[in-house]
């Protein structure tokens, strides 16, 4: 923690954050709200449980503000804002919220996001972020773990600003982040003196403030969250890895002192990898394996997450492989897939049954594998960008790898002694649709039952008398668009597992109007101000298939539908698309990806603006708030559409930075029948057109999007 001393000059009373706010060192009773301002200023946070009821000041004026909110209740949502933000005062308008940690030891569902080697500020980093947000839309992560290399190339202040705090701003304002230092941060931040941008930016628990034993340094630390003990180690500096050093001695003590059900360790250099780095030949990996891992395993570590190697690797359940080179031998304690839809979850009845090792060095930098073979302890390896979401609930751990294109390419489940688990394999839920529920229990002699609940109502039976492992095909009920929850219970009701998330069940399914590779008109010079109007004549404009890019196309990033090479130096591109519908839907959904700012009009009416402002000139670029590609899903009333011809008009602007790209793609889908009562401004739909049920569409190019739906061979367990 570093509090900068205020300059007496240019001290303003309240200033808007230039970085943050972000949540730090959260525990049951307190949290730090941290932010930076351009100029020296005093810092104040307004916060409260039910609205902004109280305030707290930073202890010193300056640019870096670290305000501790104390006396909070465990597991409770608080809202807050920073003094200087609009209407930020007692009784004013909250801007953000966060939830304090649950009581230590409490067995409640926990979800965390783990990312490594992300700090590039690239489109792919943004995609990885957005796919996680999409995947977790029904249940947001409680914590964000970063395993290092968050700000390439040297972890400077400005690199942190753009590649970490800017990139994840919306997540960091609500979700506590817990980092482990990477070698790139180590170029400008020193773990011996704890100086440099990494240590200035974070407020980490060196005194055991969030659980665990005090390490006395922010370089490595531990914390408790619910029934999980998390340990962050410093793996990049040789001194820290010393066998007789303070870190490993503290690690032993810290593990001896914990009674938590789960132990999760994370650090930059993983014990096992064959990606862009080789754990058999590089010292940092070898020493972490030979020195730190035996201590962790002797204490029963359940999950070890690393990065550094730019790849995704996930191990079998393994134990005791510390030698160099690593051979599988009998270290693999369960050589199956660990999947509910496959051979079944890994069973961990004793600590020496082993732990999982995950290399998540695929958060944003180009992935690669230099080794000709996969690591012998890894069940699954993928040389693609992505990130990892982990759910821990009771005696169950589930981990998913979310690839940059949204595919869940790997998932694994570990069941401890009294663990039982269920998963539902669908991204979207529609009444009447059949979904597979996979389930498994590690409680012998107990039949299982599946139940569902609609919006807090009573639990209703899906199926009873189920065996210890299997799958059940369930027809989703019509919940009138209300969210439902699903749980698995033992027959005696003693053990339960609730599938994470509240899943809204749509009464009608979505149907595609046009796909992401449909053709659009485009133009990259100053244009008539009426270009957003439906009647505007765009015959002079160019035409191409989506996706569009101006600074090079990487197949998985933008699809290379149209490479607008001529627009390389142009900051703005205009797009128009006509499509027809023959009945009004209840709702439309426009899914798009753009870089870096966009405004969208539907039939002349603005329906979206992201990272742009009104009246921007052709030469102006997107607002600095945008970093990398943005993935958005806009839903609107069918009343915004017209029977017959409709027009979407989109302006996309480049962002800032060294090599800003300009990209755009969009697809449209609609569902249901328009209901007169649900809208006030539609006069175009006839009664007959609304009677048709779903849309009969006249598509310009009705191609299906397959590019981003690649199937992987190894995983089917969602």
């Amino acid at each position: 923690m570093n509090l900068l001393i205020a300059s007496s000059l240019a001290l303003s009373a309240a200033a808007l954050p230039s970085r943050g706010p972000y949540i730090q060192q959260s525990n049951e009773n307190s949290s730090y709200i941290v932010w930076r301002t351009e100029a020296d200023s005093s810092g104040k946070v307004y916060y409260g449980e039910d609205g902004l009821t109280q305030s707290a000041d930073s202890s010193a004026a300056g640019k870096q503000h670290e305000v501790k909110l104390s006396g909070l209740k465990a597991g409770t949502k608080y809202v807050y804002c920073i003094d200087g933000m609009p209407n930020c005062k007692v009784g004013g308008t909250p801007a953000y919220s966060f939830t304090t940690s649950p009581k230590v030891g409490e067995k409640q569902p926990v979800r965390f996001w783990a990312v490594g080697d992300s700090g590039t500020a690239s489109g792919i980093q943004a995609l990885v972020r957005d796919q996680m947000l999409k995947r977790t839309k029904y249940r947001k992560p409680d914590l964000f773990l970063h395993v290092g290399d968050m700000a390439y190339g040297s972890g400077t202040f400005s690199e942190f600003q753009i590649k970490f705090f800017g990139m994840y701003a919306n997540i960091l304002a609500h979700t506590p982040v817990w980092p482990a230092i990477g070698n790139h941060e180590g170029k400008t931040s020193d773990s011996v003196s704890t100086e440099g941008p990494y240590y200035q930016g974070y407020v980490l628990p060196k005194g055991g403030e969030s659980g665990g034993l005090a390490s006395g340094t922010e370089a490595y630390y531990s914390f408790d969250y619910a029934n999980i003990h998390f340990i962050a180690l410093e793996s990049q500096l040789e001194e820290m890895r010393a066998e007789d050093g303070a870190m490993l001695k503290w690690l032993q003590m810290d593990l001896a002192a914990t009674n938590q059900d789960w132990i999760v360790a994370f650090f930059h250099h993983p014990p096992y990898t064959k990606g862009s780095h080789d754990s058999d030949v590089e010292t940092a990996h070898i020493q972490m394996r030979e020195r730190a891992l035996p201590i962790l395993e002797a204490a029963g570590v359940d999950l070890v997450i690393g990065g550094h190697s730019h790849i995704y690797e996930r191990s079998y359940l393994c134990y005791g492989a510390h030698e160099t080179p690593t051979v599988a031998g009998n270290s693999i304690r369960d050589n199956k897939d660990g999947k509910l839809a496959g051979a079944g979850a890994y069973i961990k009845n004793a600590d020496e049954d082993g732990g999982l090792h995950v290399v998540a060095g695929h958060g944003g930098t180009p992935t690669r594998q230099d080794s000709p073979t996969d690591h012998p302890l890894m069940y699954f390896t993928e040389i693609e960008n992505g990130s990892v979401v982990v759910d821990i609930q009771g005696d169950v751990l589930r981990l998913e790898n979310i690839r940059h294109d949204g595919e869940i390419t790997d998932s694994v489940t570990v069941l401890k002694k009294n663990g039982l688990v269920a998963t539902i394999s669908s991204d979207e839920f529609v009444a009447g649709q059949k979904v597979d529920i996979h389930y498994q229990s590690n409680i012998s002699g107990q039949k299982l039952s599946l139940e569902y609940q609609v919006e807090g109502g009573s639990w209703q039976t899906i199926a009873t008398d189920l065996a210890e492992k299997g799958s059940y095909s369930w027809t989703l009920p019509d919940t009138q668009e209300k969210p439902l929850q699903v749980r698995l219970s033992t027959a005696d009701g003693k053990y339960r597992y609730q599938v994470p998330g509240n899943f809204p069940v749509l009464s009608n399914p979505f149907k595609e109007v046009f796909a992401a590779d449909a053709p659009w008109k485009f133009h990259f010079a100053e244009t008539n101000k009426d270009w957003t109007a439906p009647e505007f004549v765009d015959v002079e404009w160019g035409e191409g298939k989506g996706s569009f890019a101006v600074c090079g196309c990487v197949p998985w990033q933008c699809g290379c539908g149209t490479y607008i090479a001529d627009a390389l130096l142009v900051p703005t591109v205009y797009f128009r698309k006509s499509f027809t519908i023959d009945s009004l839907p209840q709702e439309y959904e426009l899914n798009m990806l753009y870089e870096s700012g966009a405004t969208i009009w539907l039939n002349g009416k603005q329906i979206y603006q992201g990272h742009l402002k009104e009246g921007m000139a052709f030469d102006e670029r997107a607002l600095p708030s945008s970093i990398g590609a943005v993935q958005e899903s806009i839903r609107g009333s069918g009343a915004d559409l017209k029977v017959g011809k409709n027009v979407l008009a989109v302006v996309v602007k480049k962002g800032h930075g060294i090599r800003p790209n300009l990209r755009f793609e969009a697809s449209l889908r609609t569902r249901g029948n328009f209901q007169e009562a649900s809208s006030s401004d539609c006069s175009c739909a006839t009664a007959s057109s609304r009677d048709h049920g779903f849309l009969a569409l006249s598509l310009i190019v009705p191609l299906l999007v397959t590019r981003r739906r690649r199937k992987v061979t190894k995983d089917a367990d969602i």
């Binding site: 030891g105 070698n183 790139h184 180590g186 170029k187 400008t188 931040s189 020193d190 773990s191 011996v192 003196s193 440099g196 060196k206 005194g207 055991g208 665990g212 034993l213 005090a214 390490s215 006395g216 340094t217 990049q236 500096l237 040789e238 001194e239 010393a242 303070a246 870190m247 001695k249 503290w250 032993q252 003590m253 810290d254 001896a256 002192a257 914990t258 009674n259 059900d261 862009s276 780095h277 080789d278 030949v281 590089e282 010292t283 940092a284 035996p294 201590i295 395993e297 002797a298 204490a299 029963g300 190697s309 730019h310 005791g320 004793a350 600590d351 020496e352 930098t365 180009p366 230099d370």
Partner: protein
Amino acid sequence: MRLHLAGAALGLSLLGPQLASAHEGAPLVLKKVDKALAKKPDSSKLLIKKADLQRTLGLHQEALETLKAVPKEPQAWLIEARTYQQMGEARKALPSLNRFLEKAPESPTALWLRARIHREIGKPAAALADYQSAMKRSQHPDLYLGAAEMMKQLGQGKQACQSLEAASHKLSEAAILLESGALCYLKLNQAQKTLELTQGILKKAQNGARWLVIQSQAQTKLGQKAEAQKSLEQALSQVQSQLEKRTAPSVLLQRAQIYLALGKKPEAVADLQEATRRAPFLKEAQKLLMQHSKGAGAAQ
């Protein structure tokens, strides 16, 4: 002339893995560096990078050979020192490290490295001086542990304990410093101090068995036999409940240590046997088992 590099004072960019921190593995980077060196054979930067990569890969002799081409580069001196230290030839590491510290006298990491080397070659006073110099720029627990160790070697046991105690308070009640201080005082028969420091950890630990054992040792020294017994029983009870949750070998080792303190050798040996069976790599359990297995009798 002093070295005016931003990171030099911190010991950054000059010491460790940073030079080998490309996006590729060290062997691949080494190949690329070699390729680049073929075009620019005199590039100091490349030669230093090559030497550090060789060191990282354990190619120590090769690293030393490479460094001969850059005799005037401070970074090269530091890498040379590290290489010798890794080779177990600490004495040879000193000259180059001294040269580096002449240029960057405040680098805590370089001072720490030299302290370790002085320690290894049996120069505790010089090591202590380096640890203390490093402490002026850094507050890392390792520096205080190292300094205390040197003080003990120099016969300054009391100062060592006091230094650990003071450091523990300075560094947010760091557990490692509290425990080291507690054990230090115990050795000096200042058991009351041991109790005070142990309390600092027990306040934070969910499971305090390890420190309850130390507490009982201190209580015994203070003649508080009943309290000592009670501490051990409390420790045993905490470990038992931990074992209900976790069957980890380290917990079995902990219970064995408590059994030993309670004079229950057969039970201790049984736990040690089980711990070493489950975790053959648990050196402390193996060591204790060797010490106590003879004539322990069966404890099933």
